[in-house]
Symmetry: C2
Subunit: 136 residues, 2 copies
């Protein structure tokens, strides 16, 4: 019995329309569900990126046939790193530039991996990097 | 060129010692790095769970040889769902009870999946559920 990985990751954004416009532009994210004012759910490989409006999920419990989904919701910049191929970092740099998404920082790690950092409209810090980053 | 999945998920906890005591108890999470007062990094299958002290990461930029890691850090309950085997939910129920970790809610989804929700010491909402939950 053990956890085999992260299944769902959350970020929070009060303006879900702005978030939808932004995240649907990122190649590999597929919007599979949304509820106005509450959430956007993106499939991302075998994992899910859930974007919630914290004003909603921190105050209103969703009732699933009598079972309550616990309250959650944070304020301030969260962080998620997306897994991409090592040799595609230069394509991501071009893509972000083409989309006029500012690259806030580019970090060269001791093992040769490169991370590109950028922000979503809510201010969350996003990163694209190869899984190689954790092989040291 | 596309995102292949979530590589790193973050939660925030001001008391990292309490977080370390808690998360090291969860089968499948392996503590691979820590920095007192700043972070705990857990390997979790092919993904990483990063626990940061938001007081640190929202105010002090880490310098990697001249490359700056952007500021981030949120307050309030975040949420992560861990992937477990469908037929092991009952073992997780027993495990949480044995560890005196209160199960805040148990949700039975329309497709037959079951989620167990519990909290970490910082108040983040954690969930164990099978990937089947997203197959509807």
């Amino acid at each position: 019995m053990k956890i085999s990985g992260i299944l769902e990751t959350c970020l929070y954004a009060a303006d879900l329309q702005k978030a939808a416009n932004f995240y649907t532009k990122l190649p590999g994210l597929q919007l599979i569900a949304k509820e106005d004012g509450r959430h956007l759910f993106f499939k991302c490989g075998k994992t899910m990126l859930l974007i919630f409006n914290p004003d909603h999920t921190s105050s209103e419990q969703t009732d699933m046939g009598g079972d309550l989904i616990p309250l959650h919701g944070s304020r301030g910049a969260g962080h998620v790193a997306f897994s991409v191929k090592d040799d595609e970092i230069s394509l991501w740099r071009e893509f972000l530039n083409d989309q006029q998404i500012p690259i806030e920082s580019e970090v060269n790690w001791p093992n040769g991996s490169v991370s590109l950092y950028f922000r979503d409209p809510a201010g969350n810090s996003l990163e694209v990097v190869s899984p190689k980053i954790w092989k040291r």
